[in-house]
Symmetry: C2
Subunit: 713 residues, 2 copies
């Protein structure tokens, strides 16, 4: 058949020809074919016909006249009649998404309003990010940490009184050193894993399953906390500027989470652009604040507003332990640093180079902002307040109650919300990887209507929401749970790199191993310090959750492996040559159109049919037997007297007995069911069939056939 | 075969021979046979064997050597093997009641503890009551009304101040007149309906469906209110004696309802005996109180405690309307009067005579107690208090704070609880009749484990509990809802009798019609008076509920009639001679043991099998097709590409298309299902099959086969 000649039997046939090198049904799928398939399916599907049944399109692949030429034809059936449906390939149209019951139609309407119209798999975006956009996308999490890290240091030091706050800057400098070490280490990870160097994958490749699950669990816990902490801190910065709303902070935080969840379920297509603005506004706003505030302090110009707190006597002495606690608290500044390494493939080529540069820029920016805010905080003599963040106090001291102050607060709030949004991309992606490796439920692999990983997004939203509720949206209370998980994943990631260099012995492996070794050692030590100093104030929760969670992942994996072993086919497995005949049991109560329909059906699937009736009076049974001969004499009838008036028990006993007599063939239970026209009418009928189905479902070697009889209109 | 020779194949066979005049399989069931069947099933079933499968006994009916002789043999199978199971009669043992899952085993354990071990239908008691017991059983409801009727009259009159309370006795006397009229009228109903003259049946026979539903609905509403009012008043009499518990009255009332419900679910076998004691103690206690109190008033001996209330100025003038309101309130005394007429068959023969005598004795007793209490209340100058009943005040004035006082209070509380218990017999029985006539859901016909009508009992408990909650167990607030329903059913019942005499023209029909005519007219007028005077204070609720409820009953009836019409067989309806072959569709994802099992099954029930796979990537579909040929080449494979990643929609579209191609045979969908070993493992698998089943259930002409594949141990 020539390519341009339309099929006379399918008048609306539409040909789209593409040369092809492979035979569709024989050769294994090549990369090129994949590419073509993608191109093919990227064509918008032909618009649906007005007729009622244009739900499926016939999809035909034929060889062309030239060798290797292939046509794909999408045939729209006329008036809903498909030419041949017993074999072949069809493509479903968007119409098949519309539910049939009013409830499911209503639900898809609601979903469409909330998250938008469904997208095909071919719509999956493949956006590559420039360095400018990438910095915005990947850095918001890390940069936003500077909004709360200083608070944490000050709060820890305050235990020894306001005098101890002088130690803020040294502690901040130590943390900047740590940032430098971690980032240097990660730069090597990026080089080594240009396809994405998330801690889970890197650890799995180099250290094996259990360590990788440790890394993955710490990350998952970390992502949940990223959302809870960032949103709580964002709301705190908002209520610092609008103190009247302070008492509604939990509700506001939950509302933020709900909005971010919906946005992510919609799927963020223009993510780069959306992210760019607030991130750069935040950087610029805080930098201006640092300049103005720094100028006031250096030049001795008095602050725009006096935010200096009165002298507070500490409850404990300044000690090394206290300094370590302050350091641990400040380590919250490092959260989010791993994001760039995870996302290398999203960069424009050369991916790894651009990613490395971005990471370095991010680290420098983070250090400047963090140290700057800490410097001003000490200079202005601010102390963390329950109802006002340090950034807010510093901004007030620098700008007074003016427009720039509100810009700083808005930008801070926005970047914190964006940081939470980052977790909404990371958590579902990591869940996807874990589900693909059979460590998490497979549902985490599914893409929703809008191609987002809906299950992961929903799970994250629920968990973070519970944290916010449980900790009353209090950043200080959440932070101790946070850092320990993040540092565990840092440590595993760096240690994996050390192992990798040791095995690979690539050029300059010694130097690389040293760099990652320093990283692993440092982060390991910090993990210990954080775990010990923050144990009582919350780190223990994380340290309890992690092993529990790993056991859960292992249990899930064990289940999937066992199922897989039980289901997988051997090389000689195939269908039976000669099918058996099933033994069919039809439980029924009385003879009527519904049971006649079911008996006819039962006899159509097997000659070996027995009808069983359960009755609580002998007379009823005899009355049925009298009618039976005339109407259904071909089928033997068994009467079960049930003196206790129960139906299910005696029936199961009979099925057991029948099974004992037919141990080799699957028993088949044909259930005549009556389908009323309205849902409420179900209450007027005994739901025996439903209970029977629920019980029989768990019975091995038993097939259950629902034969619903519909009330004619 | 001789009767005494045991079957050699069934070593534990046990013969029980009974002469029989009918052939079991041919002749219609005679009364005599019914009687025999009942005797038969009254034998205790043979004890269950220790073996695991002694759940069914073989039940054999054979003709004997003499004409008309018949043997029934109950054969206990050895080691659980039934000789022949494809045809015949079996009897289920108690073992079949035991659930299979731990949850249902646990639930039957709980039920057994709460309501006792299950009873067979043959255990149904047929107790006949002597007049003494019958008075106790049927009169408790009516007599207990005297415990709150006086309160209501006093409360109504109090609106015109304490001076108006003098009118209490005249109002009470008017109500006693009314009692006399109603009872005289009912005496004729008892004579005419010796098999039970409940308002519903009597009205249905004489006035037709709609009036009978009015009567039935009023009665049902009345029974619910009997429980709520009696329990509330019982608790009020209890807390009158123990004032500390006043604030817990709602909880106490609910606890009483719960206990009565459990007792009734257990089934009250010894009802007569249980009832006798408190009823007679109540009568005696109140009579003694009347004697002692009367003596104090007559002889001028001061009351044991002064309960006279201070003079209260009324808020309105004494008027005819006020007196009518007081009369309406006092009509609560008549509630429960119809019980004897409902229960005629429970009396010893001659039933109707004994019932009439009992009714008269009851009416006299009620009148004495009611007038007596009212007389003492006026004499002692008591006024109803929120936290103390009139009976309690009168008893205190008569006896002081002594043992007799507590006896009166306990007896009053007990008889009120028994009155509630009466409704727990009446409501389920009337529901049973309505369900039998297809006006209420058929579930109300079912007897529970202990032969009680569990559905009716539970429904009554829930409704009465809600009333008690809603009205805070306040008798005064509930009474206005009560009387109107009761009087509607009185009126319909008497009017039916008038119609009956008119039609029958039996001897002395004129006199009888006059008696019932006076009854109908009087109760009709009282109904109007109650409805008007109590409209605002609550009767409107009943007047709104009644028509709504009748519409509901009619809707239910319409449904059942339509179903019956749709299901009933014509004279020529029988099974198809030549069964069709169903067209079978097997939706599957991938080839594995589970799908192979399902495909084998599908091919065993029909040669016409198509496998359908839904995939969101063309490659996956092609990969499946490559393996298909080797493993399942006999079955054609259809690939549905679903660019929106949904499974159910495209599958339904395909099923629609297949249906269009095979419009005559029922489609069969074979669903391979994977059954994990633990319930929580369900969360690790997509429940597509479940969603598909739920959708297909409502699709006409479509049978769904569950083929569960169980994970091997």
């Amino acid at each position: 058949m020539k390519q341009s000649e339309p099929d006379p039997r399918a008048p609306e046939a539409k040909g789209s020809h593409e040369p092809d090198t492979s035979d569709a049904s024989e050769k294994p799928t090549s990369d090129r074919e994949n590419e073509q398939n993608r191109n093919e399916s990227k064509q918008p599907p032909p618009a649906a016909l007005p007729g009622a049944e244009a739900d499926l399109y016939w999809r035909e692949v034929r060889k062309g006249a030239l060798p290797g030429e292939r046509y794909v034809r999408i045939v729209r059936p006329q008036a809903g009649k498909l030419r041949r449906i017993e074999r072949g390939r069809f493509q479903a149209t968007e119409r098949t998404l519309v539910g049939r019951s009013w409830l499911s139609r209503f639900w898809s309407r609601v979903r469409r309003i909330l998250i938008g119209r469904p997208l095909t798999t071919a719509d999956l975006p493949h956006e590559r990010l420039s360095k400018t956009k990438a910095l915005a996308v990947f850095a918001s999490d890390a940069l936003s940490s500077s909004a709360y890290a200083t608070d944490e240091i000050l709060l820890a030091l305050l235990a020894a009184g306001t005098m101890a706050l002088q130690w803020t800057l040294p502690v901040a400098m130590a943390i900047v050193m740590l940032v430098a070490i971690v980032v240097t280490s990660y730069r090597q990870t990026i080089r080594a894993y240009p396809h994405g160097g998330g801690s889970y994958m890197v650890t799995r490749d180099n250290l094996g399953t259990i360590p990788s699950l440790f890394a993955a669990s710490s990350l998952l816990v970390g992502y949940v906390l990223t959302v809870a902490v960032s949103i709580s801190s964002g709301v705190a910065n908002f209520t610092s500027a609008v103190p009247d709303l302070f008492e509604y902070r939990v509700q506001i935080a939950l509302a933020f989470i709900a909005v971010i969840t919906l946005v992510n379920l919609r799927g963020v297509r223009e993510s780069g652009t959306i992210f760019a603005a607030p991130t750069y506004v935040f950087i610029l706003a805080v930098l201006s604040m640092l300049v103005v505030g720094g100028w006031r302090l250096m030049a001795g110009v008095p602050p725009a507003e006096d935010v200096r707190s009165p002298v507070i006597e500490g409850s404990e002495a300044l000690s090394l332990l206290l300094l370590m606690r302050a350091f641990s608290s400040g380590c919250a500044a490092l959260t989010g640093t791993e994001a760039v390494a995870d996302g290398v493939p999203a960069f424009k080529p050369p991916e790894w180079k651009n990613a490395r540069t971005t990471l370095t820029i991010m680290a420098v920016t983070l250090s400047v902002l963090f140290v700057g805010i800490s410097f001003l905080a000490v200079g202005f003599g601010v102390v963390p307040q329950e109802d006002e963040t340090v950034v807010s106090q510093v901004a007030r001291a620098s700008f007074g109650d003016s427009v720039p102050y509100y810009i700083v607060q808005s930008a801070t709030m926005l970047i914190l919300v964006l940081a939470a949004n980052t977790a909404f991309a990371d958590f579902p992606r990591l869940s996807f990887f874990l589900a693909r490796d059979h460590f998490m439920p497979h549902q985490f692999q599914l893409r929703g209507d809008r191609l987002a990983f809906s299950t992961g997004i929903t799970a994250l939203a629920v968990l973070a929401g519970l944290l916010v509720l449980g900790f009353r949206a209090d950043t200080h209370a959440l932070i101790p749970l946070y850092a320990v998980g993040v540092f565990i994943s840092f440590t595993f990631s760096q240690a994996s790199m050390v192992r990798r260099w040791w095995k690979s012995r690539e050029p300059s492996w010694r130097r690389n191993m040293l760099v990652n070794g320093i990283g692993a050692f440092t982060t390991g030590v910090v993990t210990l310090v954080v775990a010990v100093t923050k144990f009582q104030s919350g780190a223990w929760i994380t340290l309890v959750i992690l092993p529990t969670f790993i056991l859960l992942l292992l249990g899930i994996n064990r289940h999937y492996r066992r199922v897989n072993a039980a289901l997988s086919l051997g090389p000689s497995d195939r269908l039976l040559e000669e099918p058996y005949k099933p033994h069919v049991i039809v439980p029924l109560q009385g003879l009527h159109r519904g049971t006649i329909y079911a008996l006819n059906y039962a006899r159509s699937i097997s000659p070996d049919v027995v009808a069983v009736t359960v009755t609580d009076s002998a007379e009823e049974g005899e009355a049925l037997r009298r009618d039976w001969g005339r109407i259904a004499g071909e089928v033997p009838l068994v009467i079960l007297e049930s003196p206790y008036r129960t139906l299910v028990g005696p029936l199961l006993a009979y099925i057991d007995a029948a099974q004992a007599r037919h141990p080799d063939t699957p028993l088949t239970i044909v259930l005549p069911e009556f389908v009323p026209r309205h849902w409420w009418e179900f209450f007027l009928h005994n739901q025996t069939a439903l209970r029977l189905k629920a019980t029989l479902f768990f019975r091995p070697n038993t097939a259950v056939v629902d034969v619903p009889f519909h009330l004619p209109e």
